[in-house]
């Protein structure tokens, strides 16, 4: 009996290995496993006639034989199907990319900045886009009649008090007015200006604002943090220049420029012969701003910084026209 089982298995394996298509497999299945005349079926049918001792010995062997053959047939079938479908593919032909999900370049840049600032303990702030003159100008030390509040630059919803925010500093004013220090917050956001749209300027664009208020904050802290931001965005070898810059909402104010990568500071067309590219504006939050927002400037000091995001996004993604970014003309590869 044992020999018969082994012979059956041997013959089955040989036939299985030489089977090259589904028909051959089907024939093999019928030959061994058909309910009436299958060779293996027949062997199994002899089981009841065996002595109890033989039953104990060969029963499990026979059952296993049947099971193994069934599984082997299934595996071979899958293998044949696979082979048929791929029929010797040329794997040196590159695949074709499918269109996939994509974040907007501005979102990608905001996230890059947010991840830096979150690591440094900052929260992400948010505020209204329709604003009041109070938060957009007055609390930021921009009194009535200040040139920066000029009607020409501001889009008003209802003159003279309700407008579309012209900078994310309005959110700074709101946060300072509703929270007590210590504070570390960044605000990415949409801003609006009454400007004619061209390649580099639009009436709608993005700002990225940041602020820190605590006891003992000084301008050297500002300088350090902004140096780290630039290294994060542009690499450790970025060369920076720090200069005095006036903004009404800060004193002292500070501007940061990056050395032009094209001319290494010598002056070229890209940097308009300056040798440097303006990067962002910042400064120690004005005494009057803190006071107007209900924070005691004798106890707390702080700094703020702000930058236009769109030029950064455009340079990172090689986009030359701001209208492409927000004018509904952007598509992804």
């Amino acid at each position: 009996m044992k020999t018969t089982i082994e012979q059956n298995q041997l013959a089955f394996t040989k036939a299985l290995n030489s089977a090259t298509d589904e028909t051959a497999l089907q024939l093999l299945k019928t030959k061994y496993l058909s309910k009436k005349n299958g060779l293996t079926t027949k062997l199994l049918q002899t089981l009841p006639k065996l002595t109890p001792a033989d039953k104990r010995q060969f029963g499990p062997l026979l059952n296993k034989l049947k099971q193994n053959q069934e599984h082997a047939l299934e595996r071979k079938l899958i293998e044949l199907k696979k082979r048929a479908s791929s029929a010797h593919p040329d794997l040196t032909i590159p695949g074709r990319a499918k269109s996939a999900g994509h974040l907007h370049p501005t979102t990608i840049t905001i996230r890059e900045l947010n991840s830096f600032f979150r690591y440094h303990g900052f929260s992400i702030g948010e505020g209204p886009e329709i604003e009041t003159v109070e938060y957009n100008f007055r609390r930021l030390n921009l009194p009535e009649g200040h040139p920066a509040t000029d009607l020409q630059d501001t889009l008003f919803v209802r003159e003279p008090n309700i407008l579309l925010r012209t900078h994310t500093s309005s959110v700074e004013a709101r946060i300072l007015s509703t929270h007590q220090p210590p504070l570390r917050v960044v605000v990415p956001g949409k801003v609006y200006r009454n400007e004619t749209t061209n390649k580099t300027n639009g009436s709608f664009f993005h700002h990225y604002q940041g602020l820190v208020v605590d006891k003992g904050i000084n301008i050297c802290h500002l300088k350090h943090l902004l140096t780290l931001v630039h290294q994060h965005l542009f690499g450790q070898d970025v060369v920076l220049r720090y200069r005095y810059k006036y903004y009404p909402e800060v004193s002292p104010g500070m501007g940061i420029d990056m050395q032009c990568k094209f001319c290494l500071g010598k002056g070229c067309e890209v940097c308009k012969d300056r040798g440097w590219i303006e990067s962002l504006g910042s400064g120690m939050i004005h005494y009057h701003t803190l006071k107007a927002c209900g924070i005691n400037p004798e106890v707390y000091t702080g700094f703020a910084f702000g930058m236009g995001l769109d030029r950064l996004v455009m340079s990172k993604f090689g986009i030359s026209d701001i209208r492409k970014l927000y004018g509904g003309e952007l598509v992804y590869s």
């Binding site: 974040l103 504070l183 570390r184 949409k190 301008i219 050297c220 140096t227 200069r243 004193s251």
Partner: protein, 621 residues
């Protein structure tokens, strides 16, 4: 501000190439704006400092920064002759815009071409040379920052100048020959009721100083900068005079500028000079500020020797009027009208020290409490989910042309009609994007945008009349499938689509409407979506072992799927979910799932009966 190297060298000697000087100016706040041409620096002047619109003022800051002496112009003070009835020009001020109007009368001048040193300097700056008197007024303005103005008194109708609001319909022909129509918002100088000058903006041709002039009146005025700004914008006149009056000037500068001009006129044009009216009703009191060394240490982060601090401030023109070991009290010089607080003195000290010399100090204070709003975090998460579903993100400008809807927010001063309002739905502006894909011959993937939409209630007078809502918009031809996938990922299963209009359905959970869906788009209110969102879902932990039942049925025209859903749920409260496998012109293949169902046959009968009541024919029963 343009600074010719030639002119700058009158006030200080620097052994440095012009590029290096430009770098110095940039460091102290005056950034080089344009490439250096013809030995002239063009500096961006965005400070609130009028003295930096004068070449002497710029030279002063540079001299302190470079630690070289400043050579101030030597001005000889001439003795004026007392005014007489024949020389006196009466001054009547009838407008509050005038803070000072200082005048001097000159007689017997010789108007002729300017000497070459004067011509060269003006030409280098970019101002045309006219004659010695006009050139002197321009020279003094550029040197000191105070606009001054000369008129030929022989061309006056009356020996008087009245400063008053213009009358409606009055006109003035300017020195350049253009005629400007005036109205009462503008204040003018008139003589014998004839307008001769638009105050602080531009002079008229009729009383201009020409080669034949011999008798003139010279004036230096100080006006409310807000009035000048509004008027110049209204008249669309921007010139050297306007840009200087735009920033606050100290009235004391009038006298200093007239002294300089008088000296130059008497030297270059001869003649005699007579006193005339100096209208100056409220002389300014010099400003004083105190600077504590502790504050300086706090803001700067460094220890600066008090001696060096004092020297810096003194060379910048401040006078130390009192001091203790802890602080100094300074008088602010007349040319600095920009100082508000102690920190502004610190600005000056650090500016002259050079920010590049400040150390980098890491923040060492404890990290403050987190105040990021949960909605902001949710939006970030949502973007990732949308992208994982194949969504491509877009950001569109919320500005668009007015739709006429009463609740739409319209702008009061938009430049163009295509951008005069704000969107009320995110789809209003996102819907322009598919065209771009068409242009690129690309098939449209699911596109989405997260942003604000704006509505107005009431009259819109108050800030609280305006509402901003964060919205998600999606455009895709398979909007229902995309919504279903999105909701699965957000752990939302209990939503319904209920009829709203012919082309749209409401996306609802319970009694809350989250948004609207049409065949190729949907929008969702993000705050509401956030309330129903579950983050920790999507992991299958056990085998389903569900019982299912397929129903093939036909809906009558007056019924929607949502009606069927309601009935099915009522007949079998243990029903877990329903899936529509196929839909074709009112024919639906629906699969119902139960976690456990005691009697499938009984349930089936119950359902068939209920459907019959609604005249729904089930073909699988």
């Amino acid at each position: 501000m343009r600074i010719p190297a030639l002119w700058l060298s009158d006030y200080l000697t620097l052994d440095k190439p012009l590029r290096g000087i430009a770098a110095d100016f940039t460091t102290i706040g005056l950034m080089l704006d344009k490439p250096i041409e013809n030995q002239v620096l063009d500096l961006e002047q965005r400070l609130n400092r009028s003295d930096l619109l004068s070449i002497l003022g710029c030279a002063r800051d540079l001299s302190v920064f470079e630690n070289v002496p400043l050579k101030e112009p030597k001005v000889k003070l001439h003795q004026a002759r007392p005014k007489t009835s024949s020389t006196a020009i009466k001054i009547n001020v009838q407008t509050p815009a005038v803070r000072r109007f200082n005048t001097r009368v000159f007689r017997g001048l010789t108007v002729k071409p300017s000497p070459s040193w004067l011509k060269e300097r003006l030409l280098a700056y970019g101002v045309e040379s006219i004659n010695n008197v006009v050139d002197i007024t321009n020279f003094v303005m550029l040197e000191l920052g105070q606009p001054i103005h000369a008129q030929d008194t022989d061309k006056f109708m009356e020996p008087e100048i009245t400063l008053r609001p213009a009358k409606k319909g009055e006109q003035l022909q300017t020195l350049l020959g253009t005629t400007i129509k005036l109205d009462p918002h503008v204040f003018v100088l008139s003589s014998g009721d004839r307008v001769t000058v638009i105050g602080g903006i531009v002079g008229g041709k009729q009383t201009g100083v020409t080669a034949s002039s011999t008798n003139i009146i010279l004036d230096a005025g100080n006006y409310d900068p807000r009035v000048i700004r509004t008027t110049s914008r209204q008249l669309k006149i921007l010139n050297e005079t306007v840009s200087r009056y735009d920033k606050p000037l100290d009235p004391r500068l009038c006298e200093i500028a007239l002294n300089r001009a008088t000296d130059l006129i008497l030297t270059l044009a001869g003649g005699t000079y007579y006193q005339n009216i100096d209208y100056y009703p409220h002389p300014v009191i010099p400003q004083t500020l105190s600077l504590s060394f502790a504050r300086l240490r706090l803001v700067s982060g460094i220890e600066l020797p008090p001696k060096k601090t004092k020297t810096t401030l003194q060379t910048l023109g401040y006078t130390i009027i009192d001091e203790t070991p802890d602080k100094i009290i300074v008088e602010v010089p007349y040319f600095r009208t920009d100082l508000e607080v102690e920190d502004d003195l610190i600005s000056d000290v650090l500016r002259m020290l050079d920010y590049n010399h400040l150390p980098l100090l890491p923040l060492t204070s404890a990290v403050p409490p987190e105040i990021t709003s949960p909605l902001t975090n949710f939006e970030d998460y949502l973007r990732d989910v949308l992208v994982s579903l194949g969504g491509q993100e877009h950001i569109t400008s919320p500005l668009l042309s007015a739709s006429g809807a009463p609740n739409q927010v319209k702008l009061a001063n938009a430049l163009t009609i295509d951008q005069n309002s704000l969107r009320t739905s995110i789809l209003d502006t996102l819907s322009q994007v598919p065209v771009a894909y068409q242009k690129h011959a690309l098939s449209l993937p699911p596109i989405f945008e997260l942003g604000k939409v704006f509505t107005k209630k009431g009259r819109g007078d108050k800030f609280s009349d305006y509402q901003e809502t964060n919205e998600l918009g999606v455009i895709t031809p398979s909007s229902r499938d995309f919504l279903a996938s999105l909701f699965t990922r957000l752990g939302i299963s209990n939503y319904h689509l209920l009829p709203s209009s012919a082309n749209q359905v409401k996306i609802t959970i319970g009694s809350t409407t989250l948004g609207l869906l049409s065949s190729n788009s949907f929008s969702l209110n993000l705050s509401l979506l956030h309330q129903h969102f579950h983050q920790y879902v999507g992991v299958v932990t056990e085998y389903a072992h569900r019982t299912s039942l397929d129903l093939s049925l036909r809906l009558p025209a007056n019924l929607h799927y949502c009606d069927l859903e309601k009935v099915l749920k009522k007949t079998s409260p243990s029903l877990q979910s329903i899936e529509v496998l196929e839909e074709l012109q009112g024919n639906l293949l629906v699969r119902l799932y139960w976690k456990k169902l005691s009697s499938k046959e009984a349930t089936k009968n119950k359902i068939t009966l209920a459907l019959k009541k609604l005249s729904i024919t089930s073909r699988s029963g």
